[in-house]
Symmetry: C2
Subunit: 422 residues, 2 copies
């Protein structure tokens, strides 16, 4: 029984016909390894920007349905061209858009979720020896409406296809060599991880690391599908493999360090200490589609019987959040100010290895203290500890933690383009 | 019951976002007339050239299936943008590609014929007051393979949709004002025809007139669908209406004059005068996919019992034809040369009015004789007479015939772009 490998190439990998020829070579290399190959591609380079610009010329607020119709043409071009490039090398190839495959999604435009993928035709084509090229980022509803999957959509397409086809592995080809212990632009001797667990990858994504979109990692985790991030330039380098924590040999408590500089902190002061207040506050923010990250509620003050509720949001949601809170203040009986601080950064350490190793948290706090970094808020999960610090101290914090948890590698990372780093 | 009008706009009409806004206005104008509107559009301006260039970069001979996948993205862009432009003017619009509509074709790539169009969804949308924008030039097979319709494909899409929807009329918007009595670039006072029959239009197309593709006229004729060629610039000008000859009031024997300069004449000399020779010759050419136009067989010579077979082919097929004939000469027992003449033009007069008016042919021959134009071959149909003349006399012939049959108008035609003239 031949194994199925799903490969994914993003927009920069197929930005022009020369690059498409290179992708064809990488695809054929995998086919020559004796595997069945399904390739998922995004739209060429700046196609999407170009299409969006034309749409904005025509309408200040184009309908999401028509935007999906428009944007889905981008992958239509790249799949046909890649199939031709593979054929030109003497291999049998066939391209399909999402409608032809049957990548069925919810009936929601611009950010639909995949609910089913039809595989009969694909399996038949693989049996016939064909290399299959599938359009990423797009889907179709049961009613034949074209949808798109939103940010990280092509990664999601690739992982979902790999899961549906019971693939051996899904390889995400990128401009970098894999996932790093931290941002190599900040820490020169950041090292590439050979392996990382889905859970660590998810925590790192939510901790602000510039990685794969969490949705694709979540799907891989659900299906226990090995997922590899690797370089499209250095094919002998196997990059970083994501897999179940049960399959990993864990040597170190911490896998990586990440900093998120895009958050803002809000404190609602002197809120009555009675049941239902926090619920009211955060359900209001949820209604406004504001995502809240860290939340801390202080102990109630004995005298006033009030407490403070502090939390962080994405800085771009700050104004919207403050407006919503001002309207809510009277209703929840908050007597104090609403304090805002944008001068913060969230620094996180992530590692499945910290689960049964006590003392990781205290090591983190000590390391920050040794570097005169004040901790403003703390939150923890099973495999992550995050500390809010002053923004101008974030870099120092990342470097110190990277060293303290012995994450440095021997080589200087080769950094180009966007980094799927930790 | 509201009437359905199908409109078609070609690539130059939607070449940029400003032009798409103008198309939206023309569409809305028809909607405001109280009609239901379905619009068929081609790919934007030079999109197709751009896509073909990339394909050629990748493969000297790209597969037709993948070319159809690639080219069909062109209309995917224009339909979405036009729908947005209509929506921006406050009207409800929805775009569909051929797969979504169900424009079912034969399973042949690059020149498929439409065999069925699903209309349930479209009728429902029209009932809801929506303006529907449909991708021209493309179709889909029963198996979900994307096809294209070949030359004149978007015209064919529009006419076939109009027929399927029982439309009141199909309007083909172009850069010119309608169909002319002859090429206005040759004859300055050529006049625009208010009406022309399907049959005349078909004969003119085959006579080398630069008109609508015959396939779209044939479908309109079969369904007795009124088909209008009109200006996208002058909306008050109704252009030329094609309709059944039974519905026309015919005043003149001749509707138009056309010249075809792209033919070549071939004479196969001294062919045995016995049954089956011509059949062998022309079935050989048919097998080579060479279209033959005029055919003349001379009376047999008494002495040798041979005759000459003369015919015309498109000049681009000349070499292929001569090669095929050289191989065939021995088999059919031809003893003479194969003579070739590219210095010819076919001049035709066309008119449903010549059917019951004797003397039209002799008037044509007299007019040519009066102008010292030698006739090299003649062929006739019910409503057309074609004469082969020397190429350098074609213009004189067209002008003389246009005058002799009183086709001149009062105005000088406003000539821009390609001409759907007679």
């Amino acid at each position: 029984m031949r194994k199925v490998i799903v490969q994914k190439f993003g927009g920069t990998s197929v930005a022009d016909t020369e690059k498409i020829k290179n992708v064809a070579k990488t695809v054929i290399r995998e086919k020559e390894n004796g595997n069945d190959v399904v390739v998922v591609v995004s739209a060429m380079g700046h196609t999407t920007d170009y299409l969006v610009k034309m749409a904005k010329d025509l309408s200040p607020n184009p309908s999401e349905r028509e935007m999906d119709m428009l944007l889905s043409t981008g992958e239509g071009v790249s799949i046909a061209l890649l199939a031709m490039a593979i054929q030109a090398q003497g291999y049998d190839a066939i391209s399909y858009n999402a409608m032809q495959v049957g990548i069925i999604t919810e009936n929601i435009h611009s950010k639909a979720r995949i609910i089913d993928i039809k595989t009969d035709k694909l399996k038949q084509n693989l049996k016939e020896g064909k290399i299959i090229v599938v359009a990423g980022f797009q889907g179709v509803t049961e009613d034949g409406e074209i949808t798109t999957l939103g940010r990280g959509g092509s990664d999601t397409s690739a992982v979902a296809l790999a899961a549906a086809l019971n693939a051996e592995r899904c390889d995400i080809y990128t401009d970098v060599e894999g996932v790093y212990t931290t941002d190599p632009r900040v820490v020169k001797n950041a090292s590439r991880l050979d392996e990382i667990s889905y859970e660590e990858m998810l925590e790192l994504a939510h901790a602000g690391a510039n990685v794969l979109h969490p949705r694709s990692v979540e799907i891989a985790k659900q299906c226990n599908l090995p997922l590899r991030v690797r370089s499209r330039f250095k094919l002998d380098n196997l990059g970083t493999l994501m897999l179940g924590v049960d399959k990993m040999e864990i040597n170190k408590p911490v896998a990586g360090v990440a900093a998120d500089l895009s958050q803002a902190r809000i404190v609602v002061c002197d809120v009555p200490d009675k049941p239902g207040v926090a619920a009211k506050l955060f359900s209001k923010l949820a209604k406004e589609k504001i995502s809240v990250d860290m939340i801390i509620q202080s102990y109630a003050r004995k005298v006033s019987n009030t407490n403070d509720i502090a939390f962080t949001v994405d800085a771009s949601d700050l104004n919207k959040t403050v407006q919503a809170l001002e309207l809510l203040k009277a209703e929840i009986g908050a007597q104090g100010d609403i304090q805002v601080d944008e001068n913060i950064a969230k620094v996180s350490i992530v590692g499945a290895g910290m689960i049964d190793r006590p003392g990781v948290a205290s090591s983190m706090f000590e390391t920050l203290a040794d570097n005169n970094i004040n901790i403003r808020m703390i939150s923890t999960s099973e495999i992550k500890i995050s500390c809010l610090v002053d923004k101008n101290q974030a870099e120092t914090a990342v470097k110190a933690l990277h060293e303290a948890f012995e994450l440095a590698g021997d080589e200087i990372a080769d950094v180009k383009g966007d980094l799927p780093n930790v």
